[in-house]
Amino acid sequence: MSSASLKKLEIKTGLKQLRELRKETITAATTRMKEQKQIIKAIKNQLQQPTTVPAIAEAAGIPPHMVLWYVAALKKYGEVKEVDKDGCYFRYCSIEAS
């Protein structure tokens, strides 16, 4: 076996051990990630058109404070932008959609 592939194997075994060691946090984080993906999908569905946080919350059945948190995060990572103001609220839409 070449030294490069030996190293690869070592890393693979090491990662396996690490996964075993951090089993608890990895399981919890994986569950969270799945939930996050679903929520993001639901929110993004609403963001095809410019819309407000309370409107998304109502349509997607997600508490508004949570919607705001996701919208802020998606905005930070360049997936969502603020469009305009609608009363006391701002409207957002997905960057792909615009």
Binding site: L15, A29, A72, K76, Y89
Partner: protein, 453 residues
Amino acid sequence: MRLEAKIEVDAVVIGGGIAGLQTALDLAEQDYLVVVVEKDASVGGKMIRLSKVFPTLDCASCITTPKMAAAAHHENISILTYGDLKSLDRSSDGRLEAVVEKKPRFVDEAKCIGCRQCEYDCPILVADENQGGFSARKAIHIPFSNAIPQVATLDVDHCILCGRCEKVCPTQAVDYFQQPQTIRIHAAAAVIATGFQMTSLHDKPQYGSGEITNVIDALQMERLLAPHGPYNRVLRPSDGMEPDSIAFVQCAGSRDRSMGVPYCSRVCCMYAIKQAMLLSGALPLADITIYYMDIRAFGKNYEQFFQNAQAMGIQFVKAKVASLAAAENGAVEVCYEDQVNGGVTRTSHDLVVLSLGKIAAWNPFGTCPVEVAEDGFIRSVSPRLAATLTSMEGVFAAGAAAGPKDIVDAIAEAGAAAMKAASYLSACHRPKQARSGVSINVKPQPSRAVAMG
């Protein structure tokens, strides 16, 4: 296997906030070698996380970054971030020894170029503590845009070891197997600049124990007001509404025996007034009320700042707020005794900001034999003539570690601590360590910047 490293310096500064950085700079200017130990992933402390500062309304980032950069680039200063102080005590040779555990970032600091590719590709969102929890970061992330050093940190509590960050990193900097490293710092003098933290929202049942979404603390308000904050504007966190009516509750945790904080936290009056002013700039139509016991605007130009706030139409109501409760449509009901008209009064606001108390961020018990006073802050043995002197010879304290303090007082005290440490070092007549001896096995950070210098 645990890695060990040793550093020999003239002085070690514990804490890389504004006080610690100023102390380090003043000592370095006397040609002493200094190492700064910071527990967070970036230096800058509380100040770098603020919006603007009173009474000048300077943007906090703009005036903190030069100090951070100056310290990071100074040839006499090494900065050790993401390090836990395990002990600080006198060793058998009479010098001080600080034992620091450098926590693993799981990213090689020398290799990371701060491109944030890993952060963009990471699939896990985590509440961003540097944005008051109002937005998200990823499990692997750079703390904030002007952090020093610009090095990613992997938060293993949220990592699923999916391997994406490692794959996408252009410099192979991600290292899932990184181990903590023990660093022994030998120094003749030490300066404690560990700063403060806020009392917890959760300790105050009459103010909702942190359960009312639109009751936030002052540091969270700083983020809402910061130009690069979570929403890039002021919105209330329950539903993203632009608030029409905002209230500040002063002494929500200070001057309050029930919170164990009988003392005055010294900065809350001024930051509340500042935030109120910034809010009335951002939301010109909003009603802003400050509920207070005494307005303590005692610093240079502070009283004039307070008078300006009154002239701007900010309402000051002398009252100790008794309780807060969630009301309809996300509003918060403030209940207080009206001292002018009499009687218990209830008023609704869209957003309520609590001016929580300042408590010491570091308890030396079990780590360092330095004495603390009843208030939990480092005790000064000569509060009139040399406030920075502690109960330990060669150990000095500066900034909020030695009691609540605003930025200017912390800066002055940092200079004073550096002066006392320099006097102590000159009295020690210790031969200076050779330059090359600054770091053994430990790269001074930020590594790239030092390499450039």
